[in-house]
């Protein structure tokens, strides 16, 4: 299958040691629009054949970064390299990179077939070759029976598949996707993100995907790059970014984290003790060394908080344990979110599986609760 | 149409209208319709000797006059309102548009102030009625030219619609030369037209004949009037003078004659003899001023306008004769009562010569020269009517100098010029055929 030609490329076999093709390296890349800095000195290495998601709120610079890789925007400073070759001055068309644009940017006057054929036509491939490869791409994306439709006659999901086929038919080593699921309804989003992931696995080329949706990033990515204000805040696997946010922005952006402001009380060989508005926390470690007295934020994921229905014994509680009452029980189907308030007025959220009996029978503002969590689940946000 | 300074004039008309209205109100209020003597200023004609006292019965009547800018000019309207105590609405249009309105919208006018060459058409529309000469006080003083066809016994009569041929309403309601007591149009102003030429670019010898229009020397530098009746007349005179064609009656051609002249014209047009066809007074001035043409069929005020601008243009006096035209007024058949009385008062007022003196200074003659003379300073009279050198700088009715001291009117005195009329502006029997053919000529 032509679209899978990555496998057949001799370079692949011969260059095992140097890793897969499609490695994108950014060094000190910056971009300004007037007085605003969209991308601010980004250093990033995207391994060949990986699925990387650039995640951040709108205006964080993720799309600009993607466009610079694609050649649709010129970097003001820094280097963009693909497999060791500097791309900055290479026109978009000559980069071995294709883009699936936001809203797909299909040619409205061309049929599905013509849309997919366009890149090959521009590369002046012979009509026979074009036909063969377009038909393969259509078959691959399951579009064969839609080949004569115009874009406006297609559903959102179908349009997205056309955009993918159109981008992939030229056999790029890197595929850029700008909010590819943004135009789809939620159910289709869920399905398409699985399909995207599967597609990338089959193609084994680099996918760089931009989104503002954390859940989507977590579901798809090999590596998530969290961005804010033109800078990278954290890079890591979905688990790492989700479980071990290293900074306040990542922790709050990934959602469902209880974030507490406090101060380092003491540091010893076993861990770190914190004081957060009357609540004592104990953490196993910190991303960076901390000293007693240092102001700090801590994050505790709601799903790591356990709930017991019992009143405080009166005596001082151990760290990572607090008495509270639920102000609101939010039933979400597969999980239940308990919005709690401690005696000292701190708001904490606990999320328990629906099957878990611990939330059954809790009456809002009445039932005394004990909330606790493991010290492994206390994340210190130092960077 | 003959002399249009639209923007300035319409402003004048508007302001004068306001003025006139308030004046009128004052007159009505005081029941005093005493004629106000015209101002004796340098640009105005001298005072009318004891202007006609308007009968109180017509005071306050509004007369609607549709016509052209040749005679529908502001000084005349103001003076007439003052003298007659009536209100005048001038509807100033170009010739064809005025004719169209007269023929198709009888409810919109009381008097039609145009030229004899449109009499047949407006009469045919049935919208006009005969003017009773018994109610025209100065009828007998009107010169023989429009009544009998000649000013002097030796003069040429001229082919075509000479006014006297269509002046009198015959018992069968047709128009003819047999005198009756009712006339189709009251003859007022007239002139003779020819062509103007740029005296530095054209040999004087060549300009003594209409044949110049076909002279290869001036190929591509000839300007013509796009109107079929007058434009064709000039060309027919030229073709005849150049020996290209002959006509039994140049003012009333047969179909064959029309076909012949058209064949010649189309051929000449394709050879590039004619540079442009103009439609308005201003266009005719611009064509000559911008150097597009050096010989141009045009009206005498256009020549004056060019001379004032310093363009050395001479109005030719062709040996074959001029093309004459006569202007006047027709009466709407619907005019009755006070309005009809006012119409007659206005016609009589016109004949007293005050208005004739105004148009004289645009180069037009008047049916009763002696009445004009009474209102015109001697210098103006000598220049315009007698063909003598101007004794001083002469101005037109709007105060602009039109003749420098010492200059002489092209063609000489009234008598000389009017005695040499080759043809009158006419509506031929084959008018409709001519219009179609002329269209084809323009289209070729």
């Amino acid at each position: 299958m032509t679209i899978l030609a990555q496998n057949e490329r001799p370079a692949d076999d011969g260059l095992v040691a140097s890793g897969q093709r499609g490695t994108v390296v950014l060094r000190g890349v910056s971009k300004r629009f007037g007085s605003t800095t969209a991308v601010d000195g980004v250093d990033l290495t995207i391994p060949g054949g990986s699925y990387v998601v650039l995640l951040g709120p709108s205006g964080c610079g993720k799309t600009t970064l993607l466009r610079m890789v694609g050649g649709h925007e010129v970097a003001d400073a820094g280097d963009i390299l693909l497999d060791g070759v500097r791309l900055n001055d290479v026109p978009a068309a000559q980069r071995d990179i294709s883009t699936v644009f936001q809203h797909y940017a299909l040619f409205p006057h061309k049929t599905v077939y013509e849309n997919v054929e366009f890149g090959l036509k521009m590369r002046r491939l012979s009509p026979d070759e074009r036909q063969r490869r377009v038909n393969e791409a259509l078959a691959f994306m399951d579009l064969t029976n839609l080949r004569d439709r115009l874009p406006k006659q297609l559903s959102g999901g179908q349009q997205q598949r056309v955009a993918l086929a159109r981008a992939l038919v030229t056999q790029p080593t890197v595929l850029l996707l700008d909010e590819p699921l943004g135009d789809l309804d939620r159910l289709l989003q869920l399905r398409m993100r699985v399909e995207l992931r599967t597609l990338q696995r089959r193609l084994r080329i680099t996918f760089i995907h931009v989104t503002h949706n954390q859940e989507e990033a977590l579901a798809i990515a090999d590596q998530i790059v969290v961005m804010q204000n033109g800078q990278i805040r954290q890079v890591g696997s979905p688990q790492a970014v989700y479980r071990r946010p290293t900074n306040l922005f990542t922790a709050s952006f990934m959602g469902d984290n209880n974030i507490l402001a406090g101060r380092v009380a003491s540091v010893d060989g076993d861990g770190i003790l914190l004081e957060c508005e009357g609540l004592r926390l104990r953490a196993r470690s910190a991303p960076e060394p901390v000293v007693p007295g240092q102001a700090i934020h801590a994050a505790i994921r709601a799903s790591t908080v356990r709930v017991r229905q019992e009143a405080a014994a009166g005596a001082t509680l151990p760290p990572n344990c607090v008495a509270a009452r639920a102000t609101f029980v939010e039933y979400l189907g597969d999980t239940v979110k308990l919005h709690c308030q401690t005696a000292s007025g701190l708001a904490l959220v606990a999320k328990v599986p629906e099957q878990d009996p611990s939330w059954q029978g809790i009456r809002e503002d009445e039932t005394d609760l004990m909330l606790e969590w493991d010290e492994d689940d206390v994340q210190l946000l130092t960077s | 149409m003959r002399h249009q300074k639209l923007s300035r004039r319409s402003f004048l008309r508007w302001s004068a209208g306001v003025l006139g209205a308030s004046l009128l109100a004052a007159c009505v209020g005081s029941e005093a319709s005493e004629p106000t003597p015209p101002s004796g200023g340098g640009t105005q004609p001298t005072t009318a000797p004891g202007g006609t006292q308007a009968p109180a019965v017509i005071t306050g009547v509004t007369l609607r006059v549709v016509g052209t800018g040749v005679t529908l000019i502001e000084p005349i309207r103001q003076q007439a309102e003052k003298d007659l105590g009536i209100k005048l609405e001038y509807d100033v249009k170009d010739g064809p548009s005025a004719q169209q309105k007269a023929a198709t919208q009888p409810q919109s006018w009381d008097l039609y102030d145009q030229w004899f060459n449109s009499v047949k058409i407006v009469w045919a529309s049935g919208n006009a009625t005969g003017i009773d000469i018994n109610r025209i006080k100065d009828w007998d003083k009107i010169s023989p030219l429009p009544k009998e066809g000649k000013l002097t016994p030796n003069a040429k009569e001229g082919d075509g619609d000479a006014p006297y041929r269509i002046l009198y309403v015959q018992p069968d309601n047709t128009l003819g030369s047999n005198p009756t007591e009712r006339i189709s149009m009251l003859p007022l102003t007239f002139n003779v037209d020819s062509f103007g030429y740029h005296s530095e670019m054209v040999d004087k010898e060549d300009a003594t004949s209409w044949a110049i229009l076909f002279n290869p020397k001036y190929k591509g530098k000839i300007g013509l009037y796009s109107d079929p009746s007058t434009g064709l007349m000039d060309l027919a005179l030229g073709a005849q003078a150049a020996g290209l064609a002959t006509f039994k009656n140049i003012g009333n051609m047969t179909r064959d004659e029309i076909d012949t002249i058209m064949r010649i014209l189309i051929e000449k047009k394709k050879e590039g003899q004619f540079r442009a066809f103009w439609n308005s007074f201003d266009e005719s001035v611009n064509l000559m001023a911008s150097g597009e043409v050096v010989v141009e069929s045009m009206w005498s005020p256009a020549v004056t306008a060019l001379q004032v601008r310093g363009v050395p243009v001479v109005y030719a006096s062709p040996k074959e004769g001029y093309r004459g035209w006569y202007g006047g007024m027709m009466l709407n058949k619907n005019a009755s009562g006070k309005t009809l009385d006012a119409c007659y008062e206005y016609l009589n007022w016109w004949l007293n010569g005050w208005a004739g003196a105004v148009v004289a200074r645009q180069g037009y003659y008047f049916s009763i020269p002696e009445n004009v003379k009474a209102h015109l300073p001697q210098a103006d009279w000598d220049y315009w009517y007698e063909g003598k050198p101007a004794a001083e700088d002469l101005k037109d009715p709007f105060g602009e100098i039109v003749a420098k001291k010492g200059s002489v009117r092209d063609g000489g005195s009234l008598e000389t010029r009017v005695s040499n009329i080759a043809v009158w502006n006419s509506v031929m029997d084959e008018h409709q055929y001519l219009v179609t053919k002329w269209n084809e000529f323009l289209a070729s």
């Binding site: 940017a105 | 407006v122 529309s125 611009n286 179609t436 269209n439 084809e440 289209a443």
Partner: protein, 299 residues
Amino acid sequence: MSSYSLPEAVPAASSRRLSGNAVWALLLSLPLLWLLVFLIVPVLVVLIVSFFQPTLSGFERAFTLDNYRALLSSGPFFSTLLNTLLSALITTVVTFLVGFWVAYYLALVVPNLRTRFALFIIALAPFFTSFLIRAVAWIPMMGREGVLNSALLSLGITSQPLDFLLFSNFAVRVAMAQLYLLFMISPIFFSLSTIEPAVLEAARDMGARWWSILWEILLPLARPGIVIGAVFVFVLSMGDFATVRLIGGGASTSVGLSIQNFVTYMQFPQAAAAASILVLVTVLGVVLLLRWGAIGEEL
């Protein structure tokens, strides 16, 4: 409980919809009425008059085919019609060739909206003055002693003034193109403006050069605008008589001018017959243009 409110809500909504429909019907009938009064009735009147017998000062209500017979058997009328058609086609093509690039520049090259708007207004500027003034201004520009001829002479490009620059078919076509350019620019500008920039980016991303983008993307997407502009310009130049009269100076001609002459000399039935023929030819031309536009869409 909520199920009770639903049946109640339905009749209320439908009655509201009914009155809404009445309003809509009224609103829609207004343009129809407009069309009827200002288009269909006049066309019918013209058609009827074209079968009347002309007289010296109008017409008689007697049926005749002579007006058509005279026109259709007249060589000059046919050459006038052909010349009108040719002028209209040339004007349409020229305004397209020029107007497309102006629209292209405005819609796709000028980056910011304010500049774009300012330039559009500047492009409109000549249309702030009256047609007559613009037409009269051609004489000092294109005349024998005009600016252009003087420049050509002083540069030694020509040794004699070029007469065809004024009072010629050439001059009329240039003037009409200038006059009607805006009617081509505007619709093309609007169709080019609706193209998503990402679509052009996508084309470039796939290796399309400037020429391919023009041919594969811009022209097909601008086609509705081009067709509308072409219909505008074609119809306007088919009916033109004022430009032909003033710029043509008698050396050029059009059916519109013939009609005007017929009307001026009150030969209304001939004018009506010529007008009917002109309308027929114009409508045929428009149908062909629209069909061409529609076929393009299908391909």
